[in-house]
């Protein structure tokens, strides 16, 4: 357990009477690429929300580098190096593409209100550093030419790339990608897979939620399958693909299973609206 970068132990999240997550445990080793898959409503995004502090678990703990992060505010968890992207992209529409990525650099920069207001030399130096780093990341993901465009104007697929770029700019230790390949063309998907591979080689650990099986098969070292909030399988992609329980979860084998697929929140935050 202490070897792993990220460790989940008995993570449970209930909304009222419904379990979005039930006793999920697994660990992610450094520089591993772990994919989380499962049918719609299985609790994948809920899992991300719990790991990154946007939701408190009903039970269980999450450890990062051996230290408990359950209960910490999302910004603290992110500042520690656990960065995530969102399914409903949250690009900062008002800002340019470049500025969006520059915001990503926030966690490893330091200048505060006073230094900023006085525009001290170190602040301007920092800004140049940040702008350079941001441009480098944009080139890496292929958004370089759009740097000056308003983020809002990007087509949806490129907005996802922007989010990934922004997350990368934060120099994460662990990167949680929530359906990063959704909305990408085949070419873009291949590019993404290559990118993930290169980043992993550079030492970044990945936890990805994916529906795109090509990405999962090609990129993932290990796959974890969730269904109805429970972990039903874990292993290498090829093994998991053949696991009959996984097949059943995705296809549904009989009427009873269909019945059991009842109501209840399928989404991470459905129970949290006021």
């Amino acid at each position: 357990m202490t070897e792993s970068l990220l460790a989940l132990d008995g993570v449970t999240r209930r909304f009222g009477g419904v379990s979005a997550l039930e006793d999920v445990s697994f660990a992610v080793a450094p520089a591993e690429i772990v994919a989380i898959i499962g049918p719609n409503g299985a609790g994948k995004t809920t899992l991300f929300n719990v790991v990154t502090g946007f939701l408190a678990p009903s039970a269980g703990t999450v450890r990062y580098r051996g230290r408990r992060i359950t209960g910490l505010a999302p910004s603290r968890i992110a500042a520690a190096g656990v960065i995530r992207t969102f399914q409903n992209h949250v690009v900062f529409g008002e800002m340019t593409v470049l500025e969006n990525v520059m915001v990503g650099c926030h966690r490893w920069t330091r200048s505060g209100l006073v230094e900023g207001a006085l525009a001290l030399p170190q602040v301007r130096r920092e800004d140049r550093e940040v702008a350079d780093a941001a441009r480098a990341v944009l080139d890496l993901v292929g958004l370089g030419p759009q740097a000056a465009d308003p983020a809002r104007d990007l087509p949806v697929g490129r907005q996802r790339l922007l989010e990934i770029a922004r997350a990368l700019a934060a120099r994460p230790d662990v990167l949680l990608l929530d359906e990063a390949a959704a909305g990408l063309t085949a070419e873009e998907t291949r590019h993404l897979v290559r990118l993930i591979g290169r980043l992993r080689d550079a030492g970044i650990t990945f936890l990805v939620i994916e529906h795109n099986m090509d990405v999962v098969m090609e990129a993932a070292d290990r796959v974890i399958v969730l269904d109805y909030g429970r972990k039903i399988a874990e292993g290498r992609p090829a093994d998991v693909q053949r696991d009959p329980r996984v097949v059943a979860a995705y296809l549904g084998d009989d009427a009873d299973a269909a019945d059991r697929r009842g109501e209840g929140p399928r989404d991470g935050l459905a129970g949290v609206s006021p």
Binding site: P74, V90, V103, G116, A119, A167
Partner: protein, 340 residues
């Protein structure tokens, strides 16, 4: 961004020339009031950059005024010491208000500031042993520079507009660097900002305290300029007035703050002068009708303010697209999707 600094330099040059043209005392006074209101409005603009709106700005304006006035008049402190102390007190008050208030959702935060504004104003009237009650405080000491007492509107013009320029520079600097980016990120998506390590509540607090400090500084200057203060300029009406200025200028633009303050103040003067001719029967604050309509129209058609609205219009007419959508229309905020 250095375009802004060049603009500020140009503004400084233009301002330096104005008194040389020998304008009347009325015009100088108008400039001074516009200057003070600009500082207050800049505070609102800074707050607006993070997506917050305060309806209690007049309260901080007033606390600044009363504090500096009392320290200078009753304790005999030099105004140059009283003013910064007043700003510090306002900042502390804003911090105290912000601690509970900033946890609230945007909408309720506005109402909390509204409540604070009203309570402070009531206290200004009720604590008459301290504040002089409804009759206010008189004989507030004037500012002196190098032994010479500032007496005319023209004297104060230089001091006030120096303060305005400093406020503009500070605000512009903030906006251009890390803090400004973090604030705009919060405006864009609080969830997205938090996911990148930005401590949203702490930033909101910082900018709220800063915006209050701006108002407090303006209030302190106001007290030493007019030599007399009473609770009425610090009532809810004033907060709404400042809001109109900020909205006209666009809640997020620094230049908008200047433009909004100037435009609304001048409009107010014109309206006060002209309206009695059309409605002779009436005395009182009927121009609220106009401001109300203006506010509604702007929020419907130009939520980013008149300046941005005009630019957008021009761009549209040329066949282009409007610039990024107005503030106050953020992306969908949910951190989860429709599917898990």
């Amino acid at each position: 961004m250095s375009r802004d600094l060049a603009g500020i330099a140009a503004l400084a040059a233009a301002l330096a020339i104005v008194p040389l043209a020998g304008p009347s005392s009325y015009v100088m006074a108008l400039f001074n009031i516009v200057g003070l209101y600009t500082i207050v409005t800049l505070g609102l603009v800074l707050l607006g950059a993070s997506g917050q709106v305060s309806l209690g700005q007049a309260a901080f304006y007033g606390i600044g005024a009363y504090t500096s006035a009392l320290l200078a008049r009753d304790l005999g402190w030099s105004p140059w010491i009283a003013m910064p102390c007043a700003v510090a007190l306002v900042a502390a008050a804003a911090y105290a208000v912000g601690l509970p208030a900033l946890r609230l959702a945007d909408v309720f935060f506005v109402l909390a500031t509204l409540g604070v504004g009203i309570i402070v104003n009531v206290l200004m009237v009720q604590l008459d042993w301290l504040t002089g009650g409804a009759s206010g405080l008189r004989d507030i000491p004037a500012l002196s520079i190098g032994g010479r007492r500032l007496a005319t509107d023209r004297d104060y013009y230089y001091v006030i507009w120096a303060a305005v320029l400093a406020s503009l520079v500070l605000a512009r600097n903030l906006a251009a660097h890390r803090t400004g980016r973090a604030l705009r990120a919060i405006l864009g998506s609080e969830v997205g900002a938090a996911a990148l390590g930005i401590d949203v509540t702490r930033y909101k607090m910082r900018v709220f305290v800063l915006s209050a400090a701006y108002a407090g500084a303006a209030g302190a200057l106001y007290a030493h300029y007019i030599h007399f203060i009473s609770p009425s300029p610090f009532a809810l009406y004033a907060s709404l007035f400042f809001l109109v200025m900020a909205v006209v200028g666009g809640l997020t633009s620094i230049w908008g703050g200047l433009f909004g303050a100037a435009a609304v103040t001048v409009l107010d003067q014109v309206v006060r002068a002209q309206l009695p001719r059309i409605f002779p029967r009436v005395g009182g604050e009927y121009q609220t009708a106009i401001y109300g309509v203006v506010l509604v129209l702007i929020m419907i058609f130009f939520p980013s303010g008149i300046v941005r609205g005009a630019l957008d219009l021009r761009r549209l007419l040329r066949g282009g697209r409007p610039s990024a959508a107005p503030p106050g229309r953020p992306e969908a905020e949910s951190a989860g999707g429709a599917r898990a």
